[in-house]
Symmetry: C2
């Protein structure tokens, strides 16, 4: 667990660590607005530059044995190498390094251990039928990681340069990407604060690293509909908080409610918000509900809007775009608006419920069978014995078709 080296970067922030005298200025320029989420600029907008051409590559001398595809478990085994970039407030991004996968050695005072300075992404590399490696909308992940980082005073970076490096990394790890449909290489870019002082302030140094785990299909034997527990006793996100960012801070607090839901037989929490019991998201996926409109009978695909409490899912965005392009011509209406748990229950009770699915990088889409709410079970339109609705299946096929390159598309 330990090593004696104390070679860690020790760039200390110049931010005041304790009360110091400050002048009171520009009081009149303060603006008081009610944002659902604050608009954080990067802690260091001046130093975005990454130099992909300066990458150093140190290949492993002990390559790992490949694990049989059918034994792969999400995020448990990793490839031979990792990509890493150090950042300091004074020097910006240092040259990228690809090295053998190895432990991080960090001072026990490092701020990520104490104050949760961590933001991350989840993305996948796919092998198409011609054996080419494809990334799916990586610029979306880069943009989101930059937004997440800025919200907790971690540095921003040039996304295109990082995509180039990720491409190079994927080529090096090609043998770990199974070529069968449904398989992929899960990529986890992670950005942590590495300053080693206990003063609470913006980190003066950071580490951006990427590790990769080969993964199999989320549903190896075909879709398996999940059951959700509508949760109001704990709250995942709130206006003015950080629920729309992919921060470590959003995850640890959700585990105990998840265990409690599991103890009652449910796979995940469906996070409700407020007295109105608005449906927000599942924590690991965004939620879509297909229902018929109460007044007009119009078929609608509903999802919660990006109001600062909802993660800006890349799959969510893709589902919305494809639905607008391919479902609206068929007579569907795609609607981003706040909707309540009661609306869903009413739709079920009145025979207007069509289907419900989650959307996220891990499963792409995930059919929902029922939602536990106030002591009752709200059925989500799946007939007994069926594991996915028609819309869910079509959406999965559309998105996977683009991901694996069966269909040429600008997102590949």
């Amino acid at each position: 667990m330990f090593q004696n080296s104390r070679t860690l970067l020790s760039v200390f922030s110049s931010f005041p660590q304790r009360a110091t005298s400050c002048s009171l200025r520009s009081i009149s320029s303060q603006r008081y607005r009610r944002w659902y989420s604050i608009h954080a600029d990067s802690a260091s907008t001046a130093k975005l530059e990454i130099e992909p051409d300066k990458v150093s590559v140190q290949k492993t001398t002990t390559p790992k044995e490949l694990i049989p595809s059918e034994e792969l478990v999400f995020g448990r085994t990793f490839t031979d190498h990792m990509l890493s970039l150090e950042w300091t407030a004074s020097e910006g991004w240092l040259p990228p390094r690809i090295t053998p996968y190895q432990n991080l050695s960090l001072d026990p005072a490092t701020c990520v251990f104490h104050y949760a300075f961590t933001a991350f992404e989840g993305m996948k590399a796919y092998k198409d039928t011609s054996g080419n490696i494809r990334l799916f909308r990586p610029e979306k992940n880069m943009a989101r990681l930059n937004k997440s980082a800025a919200r907790i005073a971690l540095p921003n970076f040039d996304g295109e340069s990082l995509i180039k490096l990720i491409g190079e990394f994927c080529k090096l790890e090609e043998r770990f990407i199974p070529s069968s449909r449904g398989y992929s290489l899960y990529l986890r870019p992670t950005l942590i604060g590495t300053q080693r002082t206990l003063g609470v302030g913006p980190p003066g140094s950071a580490l951006l690293y990427l590790i990769a785990s080969p993964v199999g299909p989320y549903y190896p034997t075909g879709f398996k509909a999940v059951s959700l527990e509508a949760t109001d006793y704990a709250v995942r996100a709130w206006p003015g908080g950080v629920g729309d960012k992919k921060l470590g801070a959003n995850y640890a607090p959700c585990i105990v409610p998840q265990m409690q839901a599991a103890s009652r037989g449910f796979h995940q929490n469906l996070w409700l918000f407020g007295e109105e019991e608005y449906v927000t998201e599942v924590g690991t996926m965004n939620l879509f509900a297909a229902i018929k409109n109460k007044e007009t009978g119009q078929k609608e695909l509903l999802t919660a809007p990006l109001d600062g409490t909802i993660l800006e899912g890349v799959t969510r965005d893709s589902v919305l775009a494809l639905a607008r392009q391919r479902l609206e011509p068929e007579g569907w209406k795609v609607v981003e608006r706040k909707y309540t748990m009661k609306e869903l229950a009413d739709a079920t009770d009145e025979g207007r419920m069509i289907e419900v699915f989650g959307a996220g990088t891990a499963a792409v889409v995930s059919p929902v069978r029922k939602i536990s709410w106030k002591g009752r079970l709200v059925e989500c339109g799946l007939p007994e014995g069926e594991e996915a609705g028609e819309l869910t299946m079509r959406m999965k096929n559309w998105i996977e078709g683009i991901q694996y390159g069966d269909e040429e598309h600008e997102w590949r």
Copy 2:
């Protein structure tokens, strides 16, 4: 930054990492209550036991040079050693170790880096005039760390055993505790999840460690009143969230608002809550306001109640207890209730404001000069040229008298 060893503990949790088939049971036993904070039992109530007698001590062979007292900065330099205990779900707490202060070597997939599995405490060891080392109400810190840990599915432990170990550690580090008044050894017990998988679930392994930093007086040249910015555009805590726990997750999201307040000349944010603009806390301290009651003229010492959005400060608790014991007989009334920013502003406008101070481990008490709110500055009762009110000074002397053993008290 890196090392090649992969000797990290690899106890994987048996918690399902992906959707699996679960039976739906005991729906009727679900209870829907509106808690301000969920009551999490320990992830492992069965394995609290720590064995202080089994501690192994490996002393440093390269003792550090002591830093002159006047150059000490909070949390920047550390003592020679650290205390650490590993935990695994199957074995419970392994024998404690005191070792030279050293880096932690962790797999890059370790869950603390991704999902913010971290809880911590802040406490101090003081040297009294007879040269004895004293801890101040350490059982309070142990209880709080256990509550924080349980809320994010980290293991609990027997507090008394850990206090014993901390005592032993402090004795070993005695030379780092300056004996002058105002100086102390800041102790940082930290508990992190160490499971090295990316599946989102309760950690199957954890590390509890303690590092220590010698610190000088928070106000080396006497009190210096701070200015606060009442903050409503970002929200620190929410009912049903984790704002009452000492989790890393509560800290990183507060840095950007802190930087923004600093850019306008304020030392800290005063976190408001809701449309009513309730005064909650400062993020690093709880807040106390001494005002005269609008109707009765009664002198009141106000602080926000522990409703799940307020950190249960040990200093807060000590201030309340001393105020009830020593101020109420003088005619004060001590009140824990929700109060609004407007109430404070009205008290100032109507000549009823007496004084305002923060309370926390770092500064004990911290006088407040003014609060920026809606484009105006609310003065907090301090005459020009004075840096602390009478109550603030008395409270500081009372608490420090107990901490340094001038007064014999059950809290020592």
